[in-house]
């Protein structure tokens, strides 16, 4: 088992690396073709604006290899925060921009009277059973930092939602081997660790 954290210059991936290390997994932070091909699992981290992140991804990651691994070879991939958002077809941060189109839907600013960004610990309500939630309580708290949310076209892609102010947004998405979480498991202590473990151990 070898986890590759996709390296496209997204900033600090220290906590994520340390969490994988704490769980005892072999991992590498890389954007090299051979590492992506040789990996068992991929993680797409993300901090920043949708358009900026997409630009960096397309500039630094061998896209054909990534898409072949994910779509043809069905390698499990987990997008985190903006890394989850760019799985969509389009994002509307700083204008309309194309995403990776791996899970159909769009990313828009949360339409709420509550203050943005939504920062802090909030619970997820599980809508559909998944290996990702193994050993987890029905309502578990994760750490969020975001102003935009994922609106999937297919409701079946929604695994969990979260309430903020007067709104409920999608906090976990999945289409087959492609998964995304709006929160930061690497900042969510034990329950975050559990989610990462479930991704690596059970979602293959």
């Amino acid at each position: 088992m070898k986890v590759v954290i996709l390296d496209y210059g997204s900033g600090n991936v220290g906590s994520l690396s340390n969490m994988l290390k704490a769980l005892g997994y072999e991992y590498k932070v890389s954007n090299k073709e051979e590492d992506i091909i040789g990996s068992s699992h991929l993680i797409l981290p993300g901090v920043g604006a949708f358009d900026a992140v997409m630009k960096k991804i397309s500039g630094n990651i061998p896209m054909n290899t990534l898409l072949e691994e994910v779509l043809t070879n069905k390698k499990p991939i987990l997008g985190i925060c903006v890394g989850m958002q760019v799985l969509a077809d389009y994002g509307y941060e700083n204008g309309k921009h194309e995403g990776l189109g791996l899970i159909h839907g769009e990313v828009k600013q949360i339409d709420t009277k509550a203050i943005l960004p939504h920062v802090g610990w909030n619970d997820i309500q599980i809508n559909a059973e998944s290996d990702l939630f193994l050993d987890m309580e029905d309502i578990s708290d994760f750490y969020f930092v975001h102003s935009y949310h994922f609106l999937p076209t297919d409701k079946a892609s929604v695994l969990a939602t979260t309430e903020y102010g007067d709104k409920r947004f999608v906090s976990v998405v999945r289409r087959d081997n492609i998964m995304g979480v709006q929160f930061h498991p690497e900042k969510s202590q034990d329950v975050g660790k559990l989610l990462v473990r479930n991704f690596v151990e059970y979602s293959s």
């Binding site: 900033g11 600090n12 220290g14 906590s15 340390n18 969490m19 704490a22 769980l23 203050i115 960004p117 939504h118 920062v119 802090g120 610990w121 909030n122 619970d123 309580e137 708290d141 750490y143 930092v145 309430e163 903020y164 690497e186 900042k187 969510s188 202590q189 034990d190 329950v191 975050g192 660790k193 559990l194 473990r197």
Partner: protein, 269 residues
Amino acid sequence: MKKKRLIPIVLLRNGWIVQSVSFKEYKNLGNPVFSVKRLSEWCSDELIYLDITQDGAKYDMRRDDIHMMNHSSISEIIENVSNSAFMPLCFGGGIRNIADIEERLRSGADKVSVNRALYKDPEFVKQAAKEFGSQCIIGSVDYVGEGENAKVFNVQTRSATDLNLIDFCKHVEDLGIGEILLNSVERDGLKTGFDIEQIDRISKLVRIPVIACGGCGNWEHLAEVFNKTDADAVAAANIFQHVDQSTYLAKEHLFQQGHNVRKPDFVEL
């Protein structure tokens, strides 16, 4: 629903964790990294690390004899801390320009807190909030005095400024920062409870989250803040360093009273 937070503050002085009384006396408590790992395991929601080392002083603990790690810089400390704590980390102290913030974020910080820059260099604070996002910048506001006449306190000169606390809080919110860490200097280390009246006033005045600090002597003091004010978080320093499983017990106290906090759990993996 978004949870209210419990935040231990760790004070760092010349490479040591210290206890502070009224911002004047400091007692060394130990290694900056071990204590943080414990606090993380004990269900803290977040951690604020304040470096109160005076300018020019060394971070080295000068204790090679006891085989403790010697830290040469704040970045190294941040790196070590972030290696052992899987939760949001805020670092404050000595932040004067954009490069200072970049350095801390690169080392593993999620947020930084600014104090004197709030009145000495508001343009920088504004720029920082714009560049890194409001969620990244906490405004740490120390004050003395009571009620509507309370004044902002300057830690460096150890004296009150002319700035009215209430106007100042409104002003720093407009700079674009994400949170206010409101700290009563006179209650620091006294364990007599929080300044409920002031916390209530400020947390109703501003839209951004207020973190209440100063005076915590027991878990009920924390509950009182959530019972009587709109504060988004409670913070304390000294008390969390002295009790085994401190933040866990504090969290349990709040949870059992029905406060909207994260359930205290130890999950073994």
